[in-house]
Amino acid sequence: MSGTASTYVPKSRVAKWFESRLPIVGLVHSSFIAYPVPRNLNYFWTFGAILAAFLGIQIITGVWLAMHYEPSATGAFNSVEKIMRDVNYGWLLRYAHANGASMFFVAVYVHMFRALYYGSYKAPREVLYILGVIIYLLMMATAFLGYTLPWGQMSFWGATVITNILAAIPVVGDTIQSLLWGGYSVGNPTVNRFFSLHYLLPWMIAGVVVLHVWALHVTGQNNPAGIPIKSGKDAVPFTPYATVKDVFATVVFMILFAWFLFFMPNYLGHADNYIQANPAVTPAHIVPEWYFLPFYAILRAVPDKLGGVILMFSAVIILAFAPWLDTSRIRSCNYRPIYRQFMWVFLGVCFVLGWLGSQPPEGGYVIASQICTAYYFAHFLLVMPLCGLFETPKPLPGSIVESVTGPGRQISGAGMPAGAAAAPQVKG
């Protein structure tokens, strides 16, 4: 699958028998044990494993919550409270799932920033990257569907606002809205089907993640230097080196997760969602969860309803075009002194957009949102193409090893074991 020949040799007769019928052990060996990984990866590269761990956490806590949750307009809110009060460790399952979603998004944003900063989207990793954008879109859909399920005020009104947005799509908008609602407004049929879809989508995410990891193993990891593996010393086998680093980073990330779960479980949420949904009363400020705030700011920056919708979706879709918008032949921002500055500004603008999304859409906040939205798109449409054309990059190091030790110095210890391919074969 990865292009490297599997070096796995089954030892026992049973193992040989099984391997000749379903070579899954060999597959795991070549993908996660012998698989060569650049030796200069920093902790940004552990977030893939963290994301996989959190997908697992969300699915498992979600399935367990589904044993007790009642997906009806009359029963949902009370069933969630029953989970919190009466189910053994129900409070733990619920808070783990709610805060796990936030942690999932923290990790995905760090992961995406890594891709943008180190040029992981550039050839030959375009499909890998686009699969990642698809995963991100599926995550957004899953999170939106999941947030409606407790049937609090924010659940109901957030669902109303977003499904009203879909009605702005010309020709098919009203039909889509009606099919999502299952009625004439957000109501019981809506929560019922949103629960079903919320249960479905994570399995689709898991499927796309399999494709994502497959595509990764065809090209191999990018690395902070942005240059390919050239010799055995540039790489180390995934196990135990990357494995132990990933486990360490995941446990550290769990400390952050545990802090929110056990001591600040409602901090990332909204108090209004502890009020049962009431179609007659709209909350003073409807806000989505924090991870949607930048897009919310972009949506409200445009006075026209359809324009706002188009711009909001474009803000995500434009990510997929990065491999072709960026004209630089240098991958990593470590060697792109000008573009690196723009990346930090871009990050700052994303934070500001997020903050603006939490403010009321009036006066100076709207103007600031418009400026920041313009800058957001300018980064993709102007900075990415132009920087690559005019920037003088720093000279690239000769090899990965050289990039961290300096030219002419040696590194001790082994790299990839003899007999393993130096790098996964890249076709084309």
Binding site: V404, R409, G413
Partner: protein, 189 residues
């Protein structure tokens, strides 16, 4: 950080310390995994409100007539509360143990001093169907599913049911009130 040359000072000492470190960490991860698994298993146990709803219930016997069978539910299971007529009491006392599939003396089916009151689970002991009262040849119940028959104090008299209708835990609070779900109280044998 990159240019460490090898050759540790004390290879074997370093090796065992390293092994201990690996062992401790591995044990920590295993303990962590087990600790994570526990809440999931525990959350599948009946929750607090189900347990609370399964608390003992009280049944007032005053409105029940001679020969009447009343249905009550406790912990989601059907229970027959039956007031036997004096004829039924005499008949049931007279049945020889040899005639029963699961021999049980009359006194073991009722509480001391309350001969006309029968409290049994209302599911046939064959495969769980609800038998119909005042039917069959034994002044008791007949099950429509596969033909089992029980007598007036719930003893199985014709199969395929293998055992008598089981008796839930109950006790008389007064002569006219029983509490199903816990033992103790007046008249407990």
């Amino acid at each position: 950080m990159a240019n460490t040359t090898a050759a540790p000072a004390d290879a074997s000492h370093d090796g065992s310390r390293r092994d201990f470190l690996f062992l401790a960490t591995g044990a920590g991860l295993a303990v962590g995994a087990a600790a994570v698994a526990w809440p999931f298993v525990s959350s599948m146990a009946p929750d607090a409100d189900v347990i609370a709803a399964g608390a003992p219930i009280e049944v007032d016997l005053t409105p029940i007539q001679d020969g009447q069978i009343v249905n009550v539910f406790w912990r989601g299971k059907l229970i027959f509360v039956r007031k036997l007529t004096s004829k039924e009491v005499t008949d049931m006392k007279g049945v020889p143990l040899s005639a029963m599939i699961e021999p049980a003396a009359f006194d073991s089916r009722v509480k001391n001093g309350h001969d006309q009151w029968l409290v049994v689970y209302g599911n046939c002991t064959h495969l769980g169907c609800v038998p119909i009262g005042h039917q069959g040849n034994f002044e008791g119940w007949a099950c429509p599913c596969h033909g089992s028959q029980f007598d007036a104090v719930g003893r199985v008299r014709r199969g395929p049911a293998p055992i008598n209708l089981p008796i839930p835990p109950y006790a008389f609070q007064t002569d006219t009130k029983i509490r199903i779900g816990e033992m103790g109280g007046k008249g407990e044998a």
